[in-house]
Subunit: 200 residues, 2 copies
DNA sequence: TTATTATTCCGAGGCACCCTCACTTTAGTC
DNA sequence: GACTAAAGTGAGGGTGCCTCGGAATAATAA
C-alpha cells in the first residue's frame, strides 16, 4: 500500500456533490427533511444512484447540509455578546438554536434524537451544542438567573420545542413563545438583578 | 324520497369498522400517526379497500379514533378541581392536554394545524379545546397568576410543544419540562398568592 | 326457503418513493 | 490515444397510497 499514489478526485464528482447539496437545501426548505430523495436527484440533474453514491442515506445528506450551518452556529456562540449578563447570553443562545433548528421542518426532531443516538450523523454536532448549553447554563445559574432544577437536557428540549413551534406559527408569535419559554427558566422569586433574561 | 325505508345497517360493516379502529389504535400507538394504512387493514383482517370505504383518508381515521379520547378530555375539563386556584386549574388543563396529545407520535402536530385549518376533521375538537383554554386563561389572568401578554393561542402552542417533547424524552423529564413551561406563564414579579401554578 | 338488491368487501393496478447493483461512461493518468 | 479506477446510470424489487370495477353478502321481500 505504498505505491498507490492517489488520483486527483474527479471533477464531475465534486460538481454533482455540490449540485445535490444545493437541490437538497431547496427541497428541505420547501418540504422539510422528509422531501423526496428522487425529487432531489431530479432537481440536481443527476440519477438517483449518483445521489446514493454520495450520501448513503437521508441522514447523511442532512448532516452534510447542516455542516456549514452548524459551523456558523458555533461561531455565533463563541462570539461574546459583550456586556450581556449570563442569563442574557443563555437566552441569546436559545434563540439562535431555535432559529437554526427551524430551518427545515423536521429538523428539530432530528436534533432531539441526535443527542442520544450515537449512531446519528448529527450526534457530534448535538454534543457540541449540548456542551455550549451546559456552559452557558452553568454561568446563568451561578448568576442566580435560572432555577436550580433546570438541566442542560431540559434547555436542549426547550430550544427544540421552540423550533418545532416556529415551524407552525407566525414568526412574531414564535418570538413571543420563545420569550415565554425563557421566562420559565427563571427562579420562583424574581429577586435577581433587573434586566436579566430578556429574550434574544 | 319518502318511501325509501332505510335498511338496517349491515352487521359486517359495523364489525369491520370497529376492527379497523382497534387496529389503528394499536398501530398509531406503536408507530405514530404515520403508520401504514395497508398495515392497519392487514392487522384488522380486512382488505385495503374496506378501510378506505369506512375512512376516506388518514385524517378521518385519526379523527374517529380520537373522538372518545376527546370526549374524555372535555369531561375532565368540566369536572372542577375544587379548591384549586385559577392558575392551578390552567396548569392542570395544560397537563391533561399534553398527555392527550402525546398519545400518538405526530398527534401534537395534527392538533396544532387543526386549530387553523377549518377543513381538518380535528378542527371542531381543536376549537373546543381552545375555548376551554381561553376560559381558564382568562380566570388565571384575572387572578394575577399569568402574564398579560399570554394569549390562548400561545397556551395552545405550549401545550402541544409539551406533548411533542413528551414524545422524545423520558416521562419524568417530560413532567419537569411541563412545569417549566407553566412557570414561564407567570408574571415577571412573583407577587401572587403563594401556591399558585403548581404543575398538575 | 328462495329471490332480490342495496350494501359492503375485495384486491389488482397505477403512481410515487426507497434503495441496490450490474453495467456503462468518463475523467485523470501514462 | 489507450488504460483504468472512479463515478454515473436507471431498471427493478419492495413498500405504501389510493381508486375503481366487479364479486360477495346481509337484510328484506316473496
Amino acid at each position: 500500500m505504498s505505491g498507490t499514489r492517489t488520483r486527483r478526485p474527479r471533477a464531475d464528482a465534486q460538481r454533482n456533490y455540490e449540485r445535490i447539496l444545493a437541490a437538497a437545501d431547496d427541497a428541505f426548505r420547501e418540504q422539510g427533511t422528509g422531501a423526496s430523495l428522487e425529487g432531489i436527484a431530479r432537481r440536481a440533474g443527476v440519477a438517483i444512484g449518483t445521489l446514493y453514491g454520495h450520501f448513503p442515506n437521508r441522514r447523511a445528506l442532512s448532516a452534510a447540509l447542516l455542516r456549514e450551518r452548524h459551523a456558523a452556529l458555533f461561531e455565533f456562540a463563541a462570539e461574546p455578546p459583550n456586556g450581556a449578563t449570563a442569563p442574557d447570553a443563555l437566552a441569546r443562545w436559545m434563540g439562535a438554536v431555535a432559529v437554526h433548528a427551524a430551518a427545515y421542518r423536521g429538523l428539530a426532531a432530528l436534533l432531539m434524537e441526535g443527542l442520544d443516538d450515537e449512531a446519528s450523523e448529527l450526534h457530534e454536532a448535538c454534543e457540541r451544542m449540548a456542551a455550549i448549553t451546559e456552559t452557558l447554563l452553568a454561568s446563568a445559574r451561578e448568576a442566580g438567573g435560572v432555577r436550580d432544577d433546570v438541566t442542560a437536557a431540559d434547555v436542549h428540549a426547550l430550544m427544540n420545542a421552540a423550533a418545532w413551534m416556529r415551524e407552525q406559527v407566525p414568526q412574531e408569535q414564535a418570538e413571543h413563545l420563545l420569550l415565554l419559554l425563557v421566562n420559565g427558566l427563571r427562579p420562583d422569586r424574581a429577586d435577581t438583578a433587573p434586566g436579566s433574561m430578556a429574550a434574544n
